[in-house]
Assembly symmetry: C2
Amino acid sequence: MNKPSIPKGTRDFSPTEMSKRNYIFNTIRHVYSLYGFHQIETPAMENLSTLMGKYGEEGDKLLFKVLNSGDFLKGITAEELQDGATGRLAARLCEKGLRYDLTVPFARYVVQHRDELQMPFKRYQIQPVWRADRPQKGRYREFYQCDADIVGSDSLLNEVELMQIVDTVFSQFGIRVAIHINNRKILAGLANLIGFPQKMIEIATAIDKLDKIGLDNVKAELATSGISPEGIEKLMPIFNIEGNNSQQLDTMATLLANDETGKKGVEELRFVIDSLESLNLNNTVTIDLTLARGLNYYTGCIFEVKALDVEIGSITGGGRYDNLTGIFGMPGLSGVGISFGADRIYDVLNQLNLYPTDTTLVTKVLFINFGEKEAACCLKTATMLRKHGISAEIYPDITKMKKQMSYANAIGVPYIALIGENEINSGLVSLKDMTTGEQMQLSPQQLIEKLS
Amino acid sequence: MNKPSIPKGTRDFSPTEMSKRNYIFNTIRHVYSLYGFHQIETPAMENLSTLMGKYGEEGDKLLFKVLNSGDFLKGITAEELQDGATGRLAARLCEKGLRYDLTVPFARYVVQHRDELQMPFKRYQIQPVWRADRPQKGRYREFYQCDADIVGSDSLLNEVELMQIVDTVFSQFGIRVAIHINNRKILAGLANLIGFPQKMIEIATAIDKLDKIGLDNVKAELATSGISPEGIEKLMPIFNIEGNNSQQLDTMATLLANDETGKKGVEELRFVIDSLESLNLNNTVTIDLTLARGLNYYTGCIFEVKALDVEIGSITGGGRYDNLTGIFGMPGLSGVGISFGADRIYDVLNQLNLYPTDTTLVTKVLFINFGEKEAACCLKTATMLRKHGISAEIYPDITKMKKQMSYANAIGVPYIALIGENEINSGLVSLKDMTTGEQMQLSPQQLIEKLS
């Protein structure tokens, strides 16, 4: 019989991996709670009608679809089966699909439960998502997202607090990060300024390439993309922008003084940056006009977080959107959110070896099993320890000491307890510190104190 | 546009529901850890070949199957499409399915990772499973299981500790339960005794019906099922069994003295019962020969736990098995496990109103927003509180007091903080206790102490 396996792009998580992952999830969860976010969960399966068309044509193909149960061929004609249009046939064979992200299910949730929700609604959600992407290093078909969003509030305080959350989470992890912020309205203002309102991405890309290919080449590329020489000239203050965040904002404010959208963007960004400066974050916040992710979705601030000490790309991102729920017939609901990339954070913590030493520790003490009478005594002592919150195991089988010690080493237990004939008579327990090798005789009370 | 919905039999969990569910999961998780169980997770999707044939013919139909991505019709002939055998066609269209329980994925995990695992392996797993059952009250198509198993150890200490876990978990919940224990070997011994080794279930059912339909009717039913009058007569000591656990075990021991299997079953049960009695559990443990669940699977002790104060059926169950991994080509691995039914426990806790009062509490204090300058001050004070582990929210929008207070009530926050002109000047914060209505002026340090 072949060794069983799991679908490609999916993973088993071993006890050690789970401990590390729980450390990540618990840290994020705890910080979300400190800021008053409430957890929700949505089902793994959504109606396909909820998911289809929300992620572009490519996204539709990457949805995992769940075959209808029972007679899934019922009502499907021979022609439909034969015409080869698998997309259309899939929609007939499958009514449900696995969620692709947490944003669309959240939008669906908000609309479905609108009458029960108090706005502003601050929710977080930590659940797996599934994508039929081609698996490759660091890209999985099942992975967790850790999202927090506030909907029903336009206030920029939300942006400020989300960046505080980012700063707090990565400070707790010990990961040094750079927080990049942009505002779509500034990109829109610049595109208006040069008379090409659709060319936001080209502008962001041009600024991004400045250091790599130089001003002349950037200008040439912009010209190729159809922007007029006069337009390109108007961007010169941006290409030459200098100074700290505040000085850069001054330059932008001057340049965009006559564009309502652009001006608004500068004001928003200034409020967020100024507020964050007054709060003394541990990590630096930098204006980054090259940030152009999700421009078809984000309408205000856009965030991206990168680790400083590991090359791995974005490990957290987010932004402000004005129309989360419009796709489900509830227009005009503004919100802002962030999403931590748990799998990449896991890789960064591993590479930098930043897990607290007790992350993978489960059992504090293992009782060696010398025989039935001794084990009965171990059971009582272990029960007492557990009542004091100390995690304890008894080696269940009466077997060679060597085998029991090799188990102790494998689970990495810091102490072993020995109860033999002598200990039963004296009422003491022999405790061995597995790190120092030191051995001591302790009364039950001393044992509790030692292991607490 | 229609209000969006979710597939039938699935659920959204609101913040309040999540708080309660997390309380359940965290309690179980914590107790599992105290006993040295390590968490693992397996993917939602397994290869269909891993799942098919493991749950009987009915189970195969209840598996949710995931349509192959890409051209799922490739290689499927017109005949296969047309022949109407949906089961066979489904297997061609789908390579993957959603896990149906946690046991088969665990068995697959153990075999796949056998070289990395140290035996005995104590694992717990808390994850959703999916079944295409007809949804009805209390039965869902997506629900969580909370399993713990020890494999690679024959020791009955494992049975003892699992029952301690059950006792501890329900004690922490405040749910009074009855723990029922049986042993398959005793049922097998009784069936041997009467000369009908296959009639274990009939015997268990007969004992179960004794109180309801009386001895004569039970005898009649046993006769109808083909058991001889002599056989039925031999069961009389069991029908007349009396006394406490120990006395009942004596009766069984006498009756089964000449049957190796039955004798072994009595000894096993006696060890477990005696050990548990010496450990002074909070809940009672009762021998229950009518327990006949999973007889095609369990080989030793069988457990079932029922709430005493709510009629809801079994809320936890488990048992000893000798061949978990045989289906994947690794025979002879013995283990024992339990599974908490989180959804039923949720219902019991709700009905008895047993949640600790702070279960659904997320935010400790809400800062009322009086304006931009005041909010900037709130931001600093809230940040300070959060650094001390106190969860704090600032109402993000500058809006009417009434609206802010209605938000405070909706999220059930116990305190609100007010920072206006006066407070900015004095450096104090006005804090209002939402329960008593009491209002006080506190320095930042006093505020921390009050809310900690």
